[in-house]
């Protein structure tokens, strides 16, 4: 399996420099997150005499010599950033995982079977949508307490609505299509139709939604941390560092710039990879000969009679 799939995947990635860059950036960020435990000690050590020390990378007047500078408590920003990436990625992945699983399954079931279950779920969705996110988050955190897993749950249990509504709408459209009717005519069971015929059609939009939601989740986690409902200090998070930098923003640009750039890089590369994956899994887009055809025109001629695949 891997033998066949990996080269195909890598060749597809190699066709677009943006996709290569996105993969590299994300790989770098994941490696950084994995290395984060090494930085725990400097990330937590406070030294008020080194408060707001500029990055040694750009400034000769540094006392502490921290590569990316220090924050208002004199903690090493670079080390905190590594830890924060780890926390943010974990929360984002957990939250998106929960949201996607719950939302997609409910969307599939409600869209396909409709009836009372659909009504029930959609009324719950309406109820949740009528409450502002922050109010809901306060209520849930008050009930189950703050902390990394709890924050991920709060985000997941509000984020599934996006998936459920999107998937339900798609399924409502797809279940009318003749190939679904054909599947029934063949004698397929409902579950087979739902998971073998309908579910594969929505992988594209679900993948894109996962990537978009992943960015939103990281930002939402920052919002919660800012309000004191997120992951409690001293554990650094990207949002936590950003909101803590508010008071010193004009004196110390680096505390805003580096976490902000990191956040942007994560969200951007995840979105680019999401777009790429959608195309990769769509059999109608020939991702190997599709985008950059002019570079290898001879390859297309070899295969006789390429029905429908036009070689522009």
């Amino acid at each position: 399996m891997g033998k066949i799939i990996m080269p195909r995947y890598l060749r597809s990635v190699a066709r677009d420099p943006r996709v290569i860059a996105a993969h590299l950036v994300l790989a770098l960020i994941v490696v950084a997150a994995l290395l984060a435990p090494l930085a725990t000690e400097p990330a937590l050590r406070q030294q008020l005499s080194d408060s707001l020390d500029p990055p040694s990378l750009f400034s000769a007047t540094t006392t502490r010599g921290a590569l990316l500078g220090t924050d208002s408590l004199g903690r090493d920003l670079g080390a905190r950033l590594l830890l924060a990436i780890r926390v943010s990625l974990t929360v984002g992945a957990l939250a998106v995982g929960v949201a996607c699983l719950v939302g997609t399954v409910l969307g599939l079931l409600t869209g396909y079977f409709m009836g009372w279950f659909d009504n029930l779920v959609m009324r719950i969705v309406d109820a949740l949508l009528s409450l502002p996110f922050v109010v809901l988050a306060i209520a849930i955190v008050a009930a189950i307490g703050p902390g990394l897993v709890n924050v991920a749950m709060v985000l997941g249990l509000t984020g599934w609505i996006t998936f459920a509504k999107l998937v339900r709408g798609e399924v409502l459209r797809l279940r009318q299509l003749p190939f679904v009717e054909a599947a029934r005519g063949i004698g397929c069971s409902h579950l087979r139709i739902l998971f073998l015929h309908i579910a594969p059609q929505i992988t594209g939009i679900v993948l894109v939604t996962i990537t978009l939601t992943f960015g939103q989740m990281i930002i939402a986690e920052a919002t919660l941390s800012f309000l004191g409902l997120g992951i409690p200090p001293p554990t650094p998070t990207l949002g936590g560092i950003l909101s803590g930098a508010q008071d010193t923003f004009f004196a110390a640009w680096w505390i805003v710039a580096f976490p902000g750039i990191t956040l942007m890089l994560i969200v951007l590369s995840v979105n680019i990879i999401g777009d790429f994956l959608r195309d990769y899994f769509d059999p109608q887009i020939n991702h190997l000969s599709g985008r950059k055809k002019r570079k290898r025109p001879a390859k297309n001629v070899e295969v006789p009679n390429r029905h429908g695949i036009e070689t522009r």
Binding site: P178, F179, E181, G185, I186, R192, P200, I309
Partner: protein, 328 residues
């Protein structure tokens, strides 16, 4: 007479009408209104009629892809309308369908080989490797090169896709194939190829077809018997030669007269119907065709015609033939 393979008796399929279309009350769209016919093994029975007359609904009701409201469908001794769940799915092994639009009736995320093999897998008729063998053979038989078996449907033309649809329908060796406008979405040059394929397969596998069509030329080429539908009712049934030689119902005559003539100056005049097809939500009292019939009589407005059948198996529902129903 021996038992027919498929017998449809007094089949009725109604859809609930939207309030805006129906005014108030429990209005329904009478898509199929009391239809009876039968199909013998190896026979092609054609249902013809204009758009919206209920042909496709009839086809889908027979296969229970749409739930019929009332009536009976017996297939090889089994009451189809009484089957549920597993029994119904088992039944579908022997009755398959070919769809009108080959572009949307194939799952775009499955390869052609997977599509054709699926009925075999679903009914546990073959292991994966056996299914693969049979798939390749079926594709071959339907005129598709085995080299294309692992391509996705979008890489095929309309005619080739329809060959895939036919191969899928034949995978389980069914006894009956319901073909809903199998060629009307195709180019004329491809139509004849697909029609010939269907005819060859019928001979080879002894299939019975229920052929839905609005194209009287297609029907004449393929069918053994023909049923003409108007507004959810069967107005005439006859063996196909008899029908083209001697159409009885005024609606059938109008349909036949609308076929373009090969020779200019051909004698028979074209019968042009006036007005529109009445709404199936509120069909006219009496004969459903009386609003447009050139031979309308006073009793047509109030009294529905009885179906009279002659010795040649030619039946017609029209007051014109009430008295002389015993001679043809």
């Amino acid at each position: 007479m021996h038992d027919p393979m498929l017998s449809v008796e007094n089949l009725v399929t109604h859809f609930p009408a939207r309030a805006s279309e129906a005014g108030r009350g429990k209005a329904v769209i009478r898509a199929v209104d009391n239809i009876s016919f039968s199909v013998s093994a190896g026979e092609t029975y054609a249902l013809v009629g204009e758009s919206g007359c209920g042909k496709s609904t009839t086809a889908r009701s027979i296969l229970r892809l749409i739930e019929p409201t009332a009536g009976s469908v017996r297939f090889r001794g089994t009451e189809v309308t009484a089957c549920t769940g597993r029994a119904l799915r088992a039944l579908r092994r022997d009755m398959q369908m070919v769809f009108q639009d080959p572009y949307s009736s194939l799952n775009p995320r499955m390869t052609v080989a997977q599509i054709v093999a699926e009925p075999l897998i679903v009914h546990r008729m073959a292991s994966r490797s056996e299914a693969r063998d049979r798939t390749v053979k079926l594709l071959d038989r339907c005129g598709l090169d085995r080299r294309y078996a692992d391509r996705y449907p979008h890489a095929f033309s309309g005619g080739q896709r329809q060959r895939v649809v036919i191969a899928r329908a034949l995978a389980t060796s069914p006894k009956l194939v319901v073909a809903d406008e199998p060629v009307s979405a195709l180019d004329v040059s491809i139509q004849s190829q697909i029609m010939n394929l269907l005819c060859d397969l019928q001979e080879e596998f002894g299939l019975a077809y229920v052929l839905i069509s609005h194209d009287l030329a297609v029907v004449r080429h393929m069918a053994d018997r023909i049923g003409v539908m108007y507004l959810g009712k069967l107005v005439e049934q006859a063996p196909v030669d008899e029908f083209y030689r001697n159409p009885k119902h005024p609606y059938s005559r109008a349909l036949l007269s609308a076929i373009p003539k090969h020779r200019p100056g051909d004698a028979s005049a074209r019968i042009v119907l006036t007005g529109e097809v009445p709404s199936p939500t509120n069909p006219p009292a009496g004969c459903p065709f009386h609003t447009r019939c050139p031979h309308v009589m006073p009793r047509c407005h109030t009294e529905g015609p009885k179906t009279s059948t002659n010795a040649a198996g030619h039946s017609v529902a029209c007051h014109l033939f009430d008295e002389d129903s015993n001679d043809s």
